[in-house]
């Protein structure tokens, strides 16, 4: 057997760093007035020797000095907690954003799949969207036409191919979107958390497809997933990120072990990320509280307790909202201080600990995350923290049976247990 090591390096990152301005996404663009005042003030600031420092409170490093090399044909799992810099890395590798410092060298055509169905248009038919989505992802029309049947076949939507996708079920939509992406044939494929979609059977099919893509040994695949089982089965090596730094590059088992240790440390409340601040408030930390203190596990049917540390400047009319998101990051439940409890934050400035004790809900099993936002009530958001914490519902069996109600089934996210047992009353004989 000739072991032809092509030996090429597919991806080389050298000292890659990325700095972001913080604040809610809605505030990241400037208004013209800000830019004009800044431009007007800059010369004076320079005269006084106080040129605005590039690194101030309003910026943070999403990635800091990251260097690594990935050989051609490697399948690399990228793991790390939320905000560790995984998504930023993928955005840099897929050329969506430039690094602030450092450089990345890529050998070959890159396709990135940061979200399935990017560019889908709801008014267009499945057929039209295959061409649209494929083109956006960088395929040529001729290539799409050649693989068209395979795509439709993979997505299992033959009958609906000429129906506008707005009439599709969410499952069909996701299947079609993934099918297009799965038939890209890039040298380097970058995939972000897209495996968390669809029902269990389709997920298996997608995993199989990624495996098949990498099997040739020519394609390099980088995948981010919270699904450690998927990472373990697909990846040959791993990169572990924590707070913007690459903490480990190694074999996949080693990487998963390191990630698990980090997660454990995170659950103990040791890691506090800086989430920035709004104009009036600052959300400092969010914890889920179980019977024995902070936890990342929620058992269906138990009270949902959160402890939020926040600062307020005492502006009247501030309130807090909490959103519960499913694994697809769709908001499925709301807790609202103003609307549900008719409360506001105190008008005395200071730091506060807010404890929320929400009524038990019967969540389907799977992973969830919580967004927390403060707002000038009914006017505008003040400080929003997306994915403030993530938690897991390991098992969901309302009736106490062995059937696990998983959120990935597509049957919903909340079980509706009967308040009293259902009744059945016989009305008469069945009509012939």
């Amino acid at each position: 057997m000739k072991m032809t090591r092509r030996g090429g390096t597919a991806i080389r990152a050298e000292g890659v760093s990325k700095r972001y301005r913080i604040g809610s996404p809605a505030r990241s663009y400037r208004t013209l007035r800000e830019a004009l005042t800044q431009a007007a003030a800059a010369p004076f600031a320079r005269l006084r020797g106080r040129a605005p420092a590039p690194e101030d409170d309003a910026t943070f490093w999403a990635l800091r000095d990251v260097s690594f090399e990935i050989a051609e044909g490697e399948v690399v799992g990228v793991v790390g907690r939320n905000g560790a810099g995984k998504s930023t890395l993928l955005k840099i590798l897929s050329r969506i954003t430039d690094p602030t410092e450092g450089r990345v060298t890529l050998a070959g055509r890159v396709a990135s799949l940061l979200e399935v169905g990017t560019g889908f248009h709801s008014e267009l038919t499945g057929r039209e969207n295959i061409f649209l989505n494929g083109s956006i992802l960088g395929m040529r029309r001729a290539d799409i036409a050649k693989r068209f049947d395979a795509i439709v076949d993979f997505a299992e939507i033959e009958r609906f191919i000429d129906t506008p996708v707005k009439h599709y079920s969410s499952g069909m939509y996701v299947r079609l979107a993934f099918a297009v992406a799965a038939h890209l044939e890039p040298d380097i494929l970058v995939v972000d958390e897209v495996l968390a979609v669809g029902d269990a059977r389709f997920q298996q099919k997608c995993l199989g497809k990624i495996d098949e893509v990498s099997r040739g040994g020519r394609r390099t695949v980088l995948l981010v997933s919270h699904n450690l089982a998927a990472v373990k089965s697909l990846a040959t090596s791993g990169l572990v990120f924590d707070r913007g730094r690459l903490v480990l590059q190694g074999g996949v088992d080693e990487a998963i072990a390191a990630y698990s240790r980090l997660q454990q440390a995170g659950a103990n409340g040791e890691a506090d990320r800086d989430w920035g601040a709004g104009a009036h408030t600052r959300i400092r930390s969010v914890e889920m509280i179980g019977p024995d203190g902070p936890t990342r596990i929620y058992l269906p049917g138990t009270p949902l307790r959160l402890r939020i540390l926040l600062d307020t400047d005492g502006t009247p009319g501030l309130s807090v909202d909490v959103f519960l998101n499913n694994a697809l990051r769709s908001r499925i439940a709301l807790w609202s201080m103003h609307h549900f409890d008719a409360m506001s934050l105190p008008t005395e400035p200071g730091s506060y600990e807010l404890t929320i004790d929400a009524a038990p809900i019967f969540l389907a099993s799977g992973s969830y995350c919580i967004d927390v936002g403060t707002a000038v009530t009914m006017v505008n958001w003040d400080h929003q923290v997306y994915e403030a914490i993530e938690f897991e519902t390991p098992f969901s069996n309302v009736g106490g049976g062995s059937w696990d109600f998983k959120q990935t089934f597509g049957f919903g996210f909340v079980a509706l247990p009967s308040a009293t047992p259902p009744t059945l009353v016989k009305l008469g004989k069945r009509a012939e």
Partner: protein
Amino acid sequence: MDALTSKPLRGEPHASEGSALPRARPITVIEARPGWRVFDFREAFAYRELLYVLAARDLKVRYKQTALGAAWALLQPLTMMIVLSIVFGRLAGIPSDGAPYPVFALAGLLPWTFFANVAPAAANSLVASSNIITKVYFPRILIPLSTAGAPLVDFAISALLLVAVLAWSHIGFCWSQLAAPFFVFGIMIAALGVGVLLSALTVAYRDFRYVVPFLMQFWMFASPVAYPVGLVPQEWRWLYYLNPMAGMIDGFRHALIGSAPDVWGVALSGVSALAIFGAGVAYFARVERRFADIV
């Protein structure tokens, strides 16, 4: 490096049997390059298919679920032509360069409508496509450029109306009419130049969303849509023709009627259109790498 390759690569035997020849792999370097840079025309050209696809999407979506469909491209200029003919042609008695006022009005309205459909759509296109910009890489300039496609088709449809009105007014074929597409191209360059510039500015400063409708209104009055260039005092003509739409509309109109426009004026407007396009693309190239971070 060794730590990476110590594990046998998955599927290695398959690769060595593979019949596919090793393809040349393009090398991409990603690093921060702030400041002005030359626009990468070659890359944008490589993605030209996407330009058609995006334009085709706009066109398909435009008339889905409309009862009249493409007839709207005829109805709008027709009603505007009637209104302008009554208000400006009859009531105000505005001169019309020797042509019947309806012909004069329509020959100004169509190019203006084309411009006024493209420029604001292009200006708003990046913000409207933020979900794509933050998820996939391709030359971003295709987004504003593709907005010209659907209005161009609309223009072609409404040009049928123009042909009908010309025939009805007994203005037959003349060779100068062959020059008309050149002016349409000039209008497209001007509209895309303005649109590309405004789209990049709108990403950074949302204020421009409010500027654009106002700008379009102002611009229409500064262009010979409802009145002929002849009404502008001679000594201010040079300034007037710095507006690319002045020379392009005037040229388009004269080409159809078969009379001669002010050649220097048209040339000045053409240069102005190219300059605006160049400035738009240059500014776009300077700031496009930031779009995903701020949109």
